[in-house]
Amino acid sequence: MTFPKTLKAQAAQLGTGKTALRKKGLGIWQNCSWLEYLENVRTLALGLHSLGFAKGDKLAIIGNNRPESLFAEIATQAAGGIPLSLYHDSSPKEVAAALIKFDVTVAIVENQEQVDKLLDQPEQLPNLHRIIYINKRGMRKYSDERLVTFEAVQGLGTALGDQRPELFDSLVAAGKGDDTAIICLTSGTTGEPKGAMLSFRNLLSMSLAFNEADPKKAEDEFVSLLPLAWFGEQLMSVAVPLVAGYTVNFPEKDETAMADLREIGPHIMLSPPKVWESIAASVRVRMMDSTPFKKFMFNTFMPVGERYADCILTGVSPSLPLKMGRLLADILLFRALRDRLGLSRIRSALTGGSSLGTNVFRFFHAIGVNLKQLYGQTETAGIICMHRTGHVQGSSVGLPLAGTEIKIAENGEVLSKSAGIFKGYYNDQEVTRQVLTSDGWLKSGDTGFLDSNGHLTITDRTNTALTLSDGSSFSTQYIENNLRFSPYIAEAIVFGGGSLPLVALIGITSRAVGKWAGDNKLSFMTFADLTSRPEVIDLIAGEVTRVNATLPDLARISRFAIIYKELDADEGELTRTGKVRRETVAVIYRDIVNALHAGTETVPVDTSIVFPDGKSGHIRTTVATRKT
């Protein structure tokens, strides 16, 4: 089977009776049935075909998620090509690099902003000969002959379909399960992103296994909030709905996403830890702002929820009084809280991509959201292990999916084998051989162990373990996750180990700290100014001390400094999914890290930075380090 074939089957079965996609437009949720989904794919695929798009050609999709992104993806596959989604906030340089690396010939882009990225290149992109744009706004004065509208291409497709009604079916029939379905960029916390080639068989077998482990109903709602360039979103917005038949909703605009989420009230959600962390943090920030009565309610019932969560996460059955207390808390507080967060109907809340701090985990279970951890890689078409409902454990990542084998290599590395294991990296056999053994085992790069019940526990992901001065090892991620649970701390990067003391670079959350400053009548000019205020450093010192108290003596942070700017994907400090690139951060802030290790009190900083709008500016400040 292929995606276009599956889509045809779904459309034949469900027709116009069931909503496949829903997009908010002109303030109203507009439905697109499975038949309309197929029709859009059909006309676009034929349109691409008449533009000369042939088997094996690559097509890049750039823009925010919208139904057209999915039409583009499946139409490309129907026309025999391979789609590839890029992050909508990629810089022109990143876009160019990806287009060249993956030999992209056609790009489907959302709007003028993305068109500009393709046109404003120092040299014309060699293979790109068509740019199809969806939103016509502001495009009147463009004359580049490669440009064509999405509608026009669909128009070509309709015309071709009238001439040769059998063409689409024969194009779809030519697709095979082992063909490459998508090229997916791996997040690349180390080095440049690579393109993992995944076949239809990989994706569909994964979707089926995933659906078996965590059943989804056709009546379920899902909101597509994260970039389709992230594999998790590919799985949830494209592959799994084809199999499970649930409705995928697209918010009206980025700014309305949270309100739209609440309107839909999804049953299913899969987000990286970053999103869950920010939801948990936003609740706590908003509580600071709240009325005394609400604060009282929160402070009274939250501990009850947390005690209940502790029981669930450790597999202990809660006592009767606790169950009663929890029921009361649910009626009086948690129900309303879940509604506010758009989680009132959530049945399957999933986190994946990297490890989630235990505090955040506990928070969601406390308020009655059944958050489950997924573990896997893009290279395994997503999931290796996941928590099952009723068997969520804070420490493990759960049981393997059906059809997935796991073994632990001699060095402790987790290896897996399943029908989801990818075909290899695009044009990169060298690297493919490094991760894929000749007998089909995929190396994860993470170490872990299997317990007697078959649950996998990951002890360390991608070499973040450090050796303490007594020779034992400890995960920096554990410390960082705990620090990040503070509403004032957005990022924490721990350095040190061996003979060096443990030190941390801290990024503050501008919203929470800004509000704190306002409440304490502390005036400040810029973000850099805020970070250098002694009062703010005191505030963060308090938070670090609190976390230190929970850590073993040797794993405590001895000194920290606050970063004078927010970490930014445009400067390579974060990946596009918001993971910290430790190596890049270590290089950019090496003076500060060295000073932290040496115990110097202040470090002068004089540097230029690039703002999100592309303008560059200058920062001259003094970063103070603080002993804790």
Binding site: L26, G27, R137, R140, E252, K253, E255, T256, D613
Partner: protein, 258 residues
């Protein structure tokens, strides 16, 4: 083709002469800027066009019709809309309600059918709501459509005011300092919206603006006023070179020093 022409406009407030002998023509589909130092009579000029003031002398001709004596609401029916320097919205109402009031002109259902909200009144309301939603999308204010206007940031309120003016379906839009008090980013957004309004909707725009960068960038013609008199007019390039304009902005003494 000339859409609006003002000839020999003279406006007095008691003994104060706000405008004297001002004449200019605005072509259909252009962006026309009125500039000048503070107190030059720019807003008075705009008020003469919109009908808030009636000049003692001179003639305002719009689409070939003499509108000098027409009250503002009659001119609105002819397709003029405006925004104000100090935001004039219903602050206690939502954005969408403010826009729907802008549609009032085009709503025809009577007191009874409208009040009972049955049949034709309902379909009419839906149609107008759709029109307003298109403007909301056009100006990218989806996230605030149900917010109370008074609670919004200044830049958003300015945008809502433009939205309400567009809800009138105007052929000629008068903007009184649309970019006043905005930061760089808000100004850039507003410029884009004004250009899009002009290009995509084909609406003629007359605007008063202090930001010379913006004026010189986007307007097709400029009229410069000083002490109630027109001292220069033409394309932005011509106006920039004009010695009278330089004098009005920099003053005589400074000019000598230069």
């Amino acid at each position: 083709m000339v859409q609006l022409s003002c000839s020999d406009i003279q406006l007095n407030f008691g003994g104060v002469r706000a405008l004297s002998g001002v004449s200019f023509e605005v072509m259909r589909g252009e962006i026309f800027a009125i500039i000048g130092p503070n107190g030059a009579g720019k807003s008075s000029m705009l008020n003469c066009i919109s009908g808030l003031y009636h000049p003692q002398q001179g003639k305002v001709t719009y689409e070939g019709q003499d509108v000098t004596r027409l009250p503002p609401f009659e001119r609105t029916k002819l397709g003029m809309a405006r925004s104000f320097q100090n935001i004039a919205l219903f602050k206690g109402m939502t954005v969408i309600d403010n826009l729907m009031i802008g549609r009032h002109l085009h709503q025809h259902s009577g007191l009874i059918s409208g009040g009972l909200y049955y049949g034709p009144a309902q379909t009419e309301e839906t149609r107008h709501r759709e029109y307003c939603e298109e403007i909301i999308e056009f100006l990218e204010i989806q996230s605030i459509r149900k917010s109370i206007v008074g609670t919004l940031a200044y830049g958003f309120q300015k945008r809502v005011e433009l939205a309400r003016a567009l809800a009138l379906e105007p052929k000629l839009l008068l903007l009184d300092e649309p970019m006043a008090g905005m930061n760089l980013e808000e100004t850039e957004d507003m410029v884009r919206f004004i250009l899009d309004t002009n290009e995509a909707r084909g609406i003629t725009i007359i605007m008063i603006e202090h930001d010379m960068g913006v004026v010189m960038d986007i307007s097709n013609s400029v009229c410069v006023l000083d002490f109630g008199k027109k001292i220069a007019g033409g394309t932005p390039e011509q106006v920039q070179q004009d010695p009278n304009v330089i004098k009005a902005y920099l003053g005589d003494e400074d000019l000598e020093e230069l």
